[in-house]
């Protein structure tokens, strides 16, 4: 029995790579296995090169595999770029009609995927699925049940394909590949669903958004669930409308959020400043993709750190968080709402495309404590009072009896009334910014992992944490001592960072963008005498642990 095996399903969009992946993942989880998936897909809806990597393991892993052991190709394009990633003894399963003479791999199994699918009036991916479920020893009943649940309309033809694929596997004489498993059925989920669930738990009752890859799946989840819980969720004309509607809704009393990706985030710049100025709590989720500009809409990158930490003109208060584990996709979302109320600041949640869109197994989650600063304040007496909207711990909202709520994008006094006075501006600026000092001292979920006395220190962002943890645990067997700080709060920059780096000899800042945005952000926290290595991968794919291993071996960075 193996500890882990990694599979790639590859082909063209429209051939069912995603569907196949989901079925395999589901079936594995039901067998108690851990899975991590990553899918590469193009902007064109049908006919573009796509693949999906599935890492199946007895341990929880949250980064892509260093090597692929099995490649299931649905078309000749499936062979693209595989030389670098296939393990030495990898097995390729591919249609018999494809010319594989150029293949570097010795173990190529050619099966009549295309021919059979035409004959059986089934989809090609079902035959491949059948073959793989035989190979991986998946439970036939379980797979059948998943197929039935997922697409009842095509169940019969899918089943035909599945059975045929299994038969072909059995006839192939190949040995089954069995991965060890511990514990019972695992739960698999995408980050997008966790964000939506977290928002709901926190009492988010308003969502407005505009579709944009890779944030759309969060939007779609919220559009489905918020109304179920009695709230309001709308798709609007653009991101300008989205952020301003969310601000209006929050002013009026609802916990409210929007989700977007880089281009939409840039469009929200002015709105984010408005929220910060008026002290209206909002949560903005940015699922990062390859930039700049329209960039590569479907690919993974961590290059919105610059804009997220400097989102608008003027001195605005802002809180920027980047969850570093899949579990934190849930807990950070929950916390965002309460932070934005407590500090009267927009909270920006910076997410990774890879965790947001792809399924992985998840540990049981513990709900964080959640607290609301929203109150309904009843004023007494005859006269109407104006409530100091900004200048208070509490966030009241209209309609409140005999109480008026004033909030403003224009500089104002503590009640929200416009002023021209520079002195008032200065003191209001101090007030807006001053609150955040608390978070500078006590950052959200601060964590130092690995060897706390290590002199080689990793700083990672988002999903890079997993690849680095994996690499470090491998290399620390050779006696190297690594300390690892997953940087989860990007703004305000935690003071603890400086303290933790005091004894560092080498600092590796690991991030996925071309210019080293995280490094720039925190470079003043790194002691002058220490060696700084910027580790960056920015080819649209999530970091693998071998990227780190290579850096550590080379000593380069």
């Amino acid at each position: 029995m193996l500890e882990e095996v990694s599979i790639r399903i590859a082909g063209l969009t429209g051939l069912g790579v995603e569907f196949t992946t989901e079925v395999i993942v589901d079936a594995c989880a039901k067998r108690g296995l851990h899975v991590y998936t990553y899918r590469f897909f193009p902007t064109i809806v049908r006919g573009g090169y796509t693949f999906s990597d599935i890492r199946i393991s007895c341990r929880k892993t949250s980064s892509p595999p260093d090597e692929i052991n099995i490649l299931g190709a649905l078309s000749k394009e499936g062979l693209r770029d595989v030389d670098k990633i296939l393990s030495k003894d990898a097995l390729i399963i591919i249609d018999e009609e494809v010319d594989v003479s150029q293949s570097v791999c010795k173990h190529v199994i050619q099966i009549p995927i295309g021919k059979l699918s035409r004959e059986l009036k089934t989809r090609m991916n079902m035959i491949l699925l059948g073959f793989l479920s035989g190979l991986l020893n998946l439970d036939f009943e379980v797979v059948t049940e998943i197929l039935r649940k997922k697409k009842i309309s095509e169940f019969e033809s899918n089943l035909r394909g599945l059975k045929k694929g299994i038969r072909i596997f059995e006839e192939s004489g190949l040995e089954k590949i069995v991965v060890k498993s511990y514990g019972g059925v695992k739960s698999v989920i995408r980050g997008s669903d966790l964000v939506a669930l977290g928002a709901l738990y926190a009492g988010c009752k308003f969502f407005a958004g505009y579709p944009i890859t890779p944030a759309t799946s969060i939007m779609e989840a919220l559009m489905n669930w918020i109304p179920e819980l009695g709230g309001v969720a709308v798709q609007v004309e653009d991101e300008l409308a989205a952020i301003n509607m969310v601000i209006g809704a929050s002013y009026a009393g609802a916990r409210a959020m929007t989700v977007t990706s880089g281009p939409g985030f840039s469009l929200m710049a002015e709105g984010i400043g408005f929220a910060g100025m008026a002290g209206i709590p909002v949560v903005i989720v940015d699922v990062q993709r390859v930039g700049p500009s329209t960039g590569l809409p479907t690919a993974h990158e961590q290059s919105d750190i610059d804009i997220a930490t400097h989102p608008s003109h003027g001195d605005i208060p802002r809180i920027v968080l980047a969850p570093s584990t899949i579990e934190e996709y849930y807990t950070f979302t929950v916390k965002s709402f309460q932070l934005s109320e407590k500090y009267r600041a927009p909270v920006i949640l910076l997410l990774d495309q890879s965790y947001t869109l792809n399924y992985q197994t998840i540990d049981k989650i513990r709900n964080p404590e959640v607290y609301s600063y929203r109150v309904s304040i009843e004023s007494s007496g005859d006269s109407i009072e104006v409530y100091p909207y900004y200048d208070s711990e509490w966030v009241p909202s209209p309609p409140s009896k005999r109480l008026l709520i004033v909030a403003s994008s224009v500089e104002h006094d503590y009640r929200g009334f416009s002023v021209q006075d520079g002195e008032i501006h200065a003191s209001m600026s101090d007030k807006r910014l001053g609150k955040l000092r608390e978070l500078e001292e006590n950052p959200v979920d601060w964590e130092v992992v690995g060897d706390v006395d290590g002199r080689e220190v990793f700083i990672t962002i988002g999903c890079c944490r997993a690849a680095v943890e994996e690499a470090c645990s491998r290399l620390s067997k050779n006696g190297r001592r690594f300390k690892h700080i997953p940087l989860k709060q990007l703004w305000p920059i935690p003071r603890k960072l400086r303290e933790e780096l005091r004894e560092a000899e080498v600092v590796y800042v690991v991030e996925q963008n071309a210019s080293g945005q995280v490094l720039r952000l925190i470079s003043k926290e790194i002691p002058e005498n220490c060696i700084v290595k910027s580790v960056r991968r920015y080819d649209g794919q999530p970091l693998r642990s071998r990227d780190i291993v290579e850096v550590l071996r080379d000593g380069s960075g």
Partner: protein, 288 residues
């Protein structure tokens, strides 16, 4: 002009002498009073510009929003607190230049709010540049040879977009304006009140007298269907007339109706019902 002190007075209005905004402000205050509203029941959402200073002077709940983003912000308010009466206030630049896209979308959603646009044909607050309602080919400070854009026709624009109440007032006739406001405020659904106004400081060519000459009174009780309303507007435009009164009014389901969002939102925190969803959809257990 609203001299007696009112529950809606916050502070003394300040605009240039002769500014049309004074008239609008006092008519609006009167209309709110006459309809028996209380300040706490109302939210005024404003953009940026001289027109929108109304928010400072009017004693209500208020949200001073961004330039051009009044309607999305006001929509957000209405969607979560349907019990509130929502007024949105803009100038012609705020509403029809930078805010033009949102106008169409808000109209077609039939959001239940009243949009008051004070249309003085100029960007007043930025000191006198042409606006989307500046006349075609007229000389301006930045286009001595004539302004090269045909004006936006806000009434037609919202008519074809799906607004359910369309009216136009003008500052030369306060009593009619007050009545128009009352009609608009009583309407359930998206109502636009465009108010032909004056900016003596930066648009001195347009005066109450020059406006008056072009007024076409269309009454306050429109029975027109959309075709007739559009026809009226097209004809008035061709004839160089300014129709004043209620041009179109019709009952239709609002966005809140269709979203089934007719009660005020209160965030229940934490919302434990989500634990069921997580279990049902993903077999995911979340501990408390």
């Amino acid at each position: 002009m609203g001299q007696a002190s009112s529950v809606f007075d916050r502070s003394k209005p300040k605009w240039c002498p002769g500014c049309g905004n004074f008239v609008v402000y006092s008519c609006l205050k009167d209309a709110l009073e006459e309809l028996g509203y209380r300040p706490e029941e109302i939210v005024v959402v404003c953009g940026i510009g001289c027109a929108t200073f109304i928010w400072s002077y009017l004693n209500t709940n208020s949200l001073k929003a961004l330039h051009g983003r009044v309607l999305p912000a006001a929509t957000g308010v209405k969607l979560v607190k349907p019990s509130l009466k929502v007024l949105a206030v803009s100038g012609d630049g705020d509403a029809y230049s930078i805010g033009c896209g949102h106008l169409t979308h808000t109209a077609r959603r039939n959001i239940d709010l009243t949009y008051i646009v004070i249309d003085n044909g100029i960007f007043g607050n930025t000191r006198g540049q042409p606006s989307p309602t500046t006349p075609y080919l007229s000389p301006t400070k930045i286009s001595p040879r004539g302004w090269p854009e045909k004006p936006v026709d806000p009434l037609l624009l919202v008519a074809v977009s799906g607004a359910t109440f369309i009216a136009q007032g003008y500052v030369g006739n306060p009593s009619s304006l007050r009545e128009i406001f009352k009609k608009a405020l009583k309407h359930r659904g998206f109502s636009l009140v465009n108010i032909v106004s004056v900016c003596p400081t930066f648009n001195p060519k347009r005066t109450i007298t020059t406006i008056k000459e072009k007024i076409l009174d269309v009454g306050l009780d429109s029975q027109r269907d959309l075709d007739e309303a559009v026809k009226l507007l097209l004809e008035a435009r061709k004839a160089g007339r300014i129709p004043v009164g209620v041009i179109y009014s019709r009952d239709e389901p609002t966005y809140n109706d269709l979203l089934n969002a007719n009660s005020d939102q209160k965030s229940i925190v934490p919302d434990l019902r989500v634990l069921e969803i997580a279990l049902r959809e993903f077999g995911l257990e979340i501990e408390c």
